[in-house]
Symmetry: C2
Subunit: 352 residues, 2 copies
């Protein structure tokens, strides 16, 4: 054929060659001193940094479960598929290094769609010094994308283990903080699903939609937190309430969140008013960092982030001893009285 | 609920806890001196072996494209999903170490099915000193499984790079060899799809079906090949003809295969007679190793495999200078005359 238009026209090996070429453009050797073999053999190969530990994380996005083609374009879909995984690496305090992607798609998909998808991935990868080193592209009756990211910790100091951000490292008395602001992605999704915005300007709405479509994983900020001495952290993917529950469970503590302290995205407040709080608590897909530590450590981290042009770090609550029969996570108002808010979402619709 | 029966009853986090528990049973510390964090945080963490390089590979299996639930059970599906990835790691000469799995499945899937799937993965993982360290389980309208395996090479000798099996390391004059025998998996698939076997006993048919359902990745054999000095190799997943094309392309050589030398699976010959050859050449999913090297190196490798109870290594052809206008891969009969055989399969149905 002279002019392939769809995935089927090109064939699997043709597609791999095309993508390897597209990705290679962005594979500057300076980015990857350790890469020994990229796309084209049975596996990619690299030399780990001496003294560093490796991390691995994987996440899948499925059409009509995690995204809709009516509300995203292919470039953004590629971006986001990688972003959620970079965010998980950052959530350990690790620098993501290498990514592989497996895509199941229909044979009649136009090649422009596939190209845009990989361009979105490659652009985000380049921003975070991460390389796409392989993958698998298969025909499938439903569109499903799985990305796996391998990263590495900072090298260990002599006689020590490399530093990590752990969910289990929280202690009663720790302050709880989040980077950036919350709820914009959930507000953007609501707009994309056709909800009529109760308020806000077109610029507000565009900001919310952008937050939903192109999240910025907090890779650099996670490193700053570690350097400041923070050791407890995770990323916010399922919503603050749901993720605080995970952190509290791993650390065997309770979590008290003060609603008045939550850094609500300004565009979210402008658009949704009083409903902004629930979106910030339960909306999900913020891809900010949730962390805990002594108040002075968090203050140092906040200053260090500010000095480097990083996101704000806002204390939103504290870890407390777990009391019998008390809920793991409590949301209180400015006077300390309990608020009741709907929980995070369940992937299977079951009880969480 | 008192007695969860389906994925939806349990919820995502319940499912993760259940699987983490099931996998932990098989996570003996002796298997994983380097593992620092398994399932339960944002990513798994391990300490790489000093001097070794890391490899990563990913492969997806999609229902009704790569498998049918009518012809496999869940245990075998778990086994095979991991096997195809361990085979890719072995194809580099690497020891697989860690695996993550992403599964998209229906919410009403019985938990017994999920349990059997992970049991199949875990049993195969344990055989090859590989650990399941994480994953993602999502609701999806079609059943899709993506496994990513990270492994490591042998540590490098001082001043040298670690040894690898490369597709690109073949040279004209090299002999070409395969481990084990060929075609059994393709023969088994034909039986599973309801084809009436022209011959063979029930035991023959069972052997073919078993080869299709539970392939044995050649992890240990790959190490023996490397130690014997073999440096060119890959695994056979798409069929000998198709994979020889890839190896020849990467090494910029032609490949001559001698049909009479192919190690046809005995049960395949018993069942399919004269049709066995085409299945061995083009059938795919053998998960044997295809390698190339000087004849004396391959002879040493064969003896070393035999001494360790490994699979046979059979010379099936040779690499030749690529001639203009000649096909990359030629199959010849015992007299050296060309044979014409149908090619491997295309994932998208396009021209390969």
């Amino acid at each position: 054929m002279s002019h392939p238009a769809s995935v089927a026209d090109l064939g699997e090996f043709g597609l791999i060659r095309r993508l390897a070429g597209a990705v290679a453009v962005r594979t500057a050797p300076a980015l990857a001193p350790g890469l020994k073999l990229g796309i084209g053999d049975d596996a990619a190969v690299w030399a780990p940094t001496p003294g560093a530990w490796s991390v691995i994380t994987t996440d899948a996005l499925v059409e009509d479960v995690h995204f809709r083609l009516g509300t995203t374009d292919w470039y953004d879909l590629g971006w986001k598929s990688l972003a959620v995984n970079l965010s998980d690496a950052a959530a350990m305090g690790a620098q993501p290094r290498y990514a592989v992607v497996s895509v199941g798609l229909a044979g009649d998909l136009p090649l422009e769609a596939v190209d845009a998808f990989y361009r979105g991935m490659a652009d985000l990868a380049a921003r975070h010094d991460t390389l796409l080193v392989g993958g698998d592209t298969v025909r499938a009756p439903c569109l499903a994308i799985t990305v796996t990211v391998v990263g590495e910790t900072r090298p260990a100091a002599p006689g020590e283990a490399p530093p990590l951000l752990r969910r289990a490292a929280g202690r009663p008395g720790d302050a709880v903080a989040v980077t950036g602001d919350l709820g914009a992605s959930a507000g953007g999704l609501r707009l994309l699903e056709g909800a009529r915005p109760p308020g806000g300007t077109a610029a507000d709405h565009a900001a919310l939609v952008a937050a939903h479509r192109r999240p910025s994983p907090r890779v650099a900020a996670a490193g700053v937190l570690l350097d400041a001495g923070v050791r407890c952290g995770m990323d916010l993917s399922d919503g603050l309430l749901s993720d605080a529950e995970r952190l509290g469970e791993a650390s065997a503590v309770g979590v008290v969140l003060e609603a008045a302290r939550l850094p609500l995205a300004p565009a979210l407040v402008a658009t949704y008013g009083d409903a902004a709080l629930a979106l910030a608590l339960a909306g999900g897909e913020d891809y900010e960092l949730l962390c805990a530590g002594p108040a002075d450590v968090l203050a140092r981290a906040r200053a260090a982030l500010a000095a480097r042009g990083g996101p704000p770090l806002t204390v939103v609550g504290r870890l407390v001893p777990l009391e019998p029969d008390a809920p793991r996570v409590r949301v209180v108002d400015a006077a300390g009285a309990p608020l009741v808010v709907e929980g995070g979402w369940s992937h299977f619709g079951g009880a969480e």
